[in-house]
Symmetry: C2
Subunit: 246 residues, 2 copies
């Protein structure tokens, strides 16, 4: 089996080594080739010393998957890295699509702590009930689809975790999302904002839907919009499951 | 700080030690008291030797949170364990609710690999786009709320991750969910079913929405219903992000 190599898509978790799983660490240690965005390779620099590292910028996802599959077919042991969980807007689907119908049994996905779980843990417990995860990036998804999902999730009282809320080129989507959510939720709905979870520059803020537009948000930010039950408890944001606590 | 103890709500991940984070492991090692469902304590038996272990059955969540807070107030170092991520239908919200307004800064949530991420990794990459997570347990949530969420998520073409699909006492909810989803999605919609992810007895099955009722499902099962783009690629289930792969 090792002679024909393998290909593992590895979730690094939110960023800090301590939030990585033993399985992910082991996968990196056994790999010969590591393929990833250079920002994520920098997070694990000393783990990948002496290995072939293929670092490509953020927009080169398709190329990263192709190189990984090519190296697999050369019989190498390859890891493709994703921050958070590779199944959630990460490299897992793209790598499997690139492999096509004949995904061999030496290909596997190593799950990680997702950006959503990491942000929620730092805020308290905002995901304590049913939730929806939506990316505001309309680079690959028509904006009408995103709008429809925002409206449906808000109307059905899901907690909402919003990823990719803003980037340098995408600056209006979060404001528009706020408008859509405000149709279904009062402006005092609790909102949590986490930047750089478990990384240098970590910032955690609790605000409201009405003030969302004032928050400092970038592409390394996760925004969590509470449901009708979510509330502040001291510094924490909590969505009750429904237990009778008292 | 250590004199006044601490309280950590720790995510164990799906079950196998290799999917636990270093941070979770360290928290367990430093704890004096471990509070949890005995089934989960059994998963980490040799890590908790010599510690005070408070094992309570599945229905005693409120009591577990109370005992943990009581031990914290006695100045002990306490871990409350949850499988998966403690923020997703786990103990995080209940512990914070029990603490109330004055959640002290020696209380923290340690995130884990969620049951949803684990199931998705074993299936391939079904969560490759926006998704909603819904529990079918109506013990604490009115069934009408659950129905509304199922309908809204299906209509807006979210991938759906369904937790707690069935138990010995709750045997009709999954069939009803199937009916609701079938209003909005064709019966050949791809569905993945994972039992006992990363645990003994692990079983992974790919089926369709139309055949969901025939699947073997219990309370340790996660069901993932694809969106309109989800498809089988060989043995894997993949939801494309939208990249042009070819």
């Amino acid at each position: 089996m090792s002679e024909r190599g393998n290909l593992l898509v590895v979730g690094l978790g939110p960023g800090h080594r301590s939030a990585m799983t033993a399985q992910a660490l082991e996968a990196l240690q056994h790999a010969e080739v590591i393929v990833g965005y250079h920002g994520y390779l920098a997070l694990i620099e000393e783990l990948v010393e002496g290995k072939e590292c293929v670092a490509l910028p953020l927009t080169e996802e398709v190329q990263r998957a192709r190189i990984a599959v090519e190296r697999l077919r050369q019989g190498r042991r390859v890891c493709v890295i994703s921050s958070g969980d590779p199944g959630v807007y990460g490299m897992a689907s793209l790598v499997l699509e690139t492999l096509g119908e004949d995904a061999p049994d030496n290909v596997a996905i190593i799950p990680g702590v997702s950006a959503v779980s990491a942000a929620a843990a730092l805020l308290g417990a905002p995901l304590g009930h049913d939730f929806a995860v939506i990316s505001l990036s309309d680079l690959l998804t028509p904006w009408e689809v995103i709008e429809r999902r925002l409206g449906a999730a808000a109307q059905a009282d899901f907690v909402l975790a919003i990823l990719n809320p803003k980037s340098q080129r995408r600056d209006w989507q979060l404001g528009r999302a706020q408008e859509i959510l405000t149709v279904h939720r009062p402006p005092d709905t609790a909102v949590g904002i986490v930047r750089n979870a478990y990384r240098p520059g970590q910032a955690v803020e609790v605000t409201t839907l009405g003030r969302l537009a004032d928050a400092v948000v970038d592409m390394f930010t996760t925004v969590i919009v509470g449901n009708s039950q979510t509330r502040r408890l001291g510094p924490k944001l909590v969505t009750p499951r429904g237990y009778d606590v008292h």
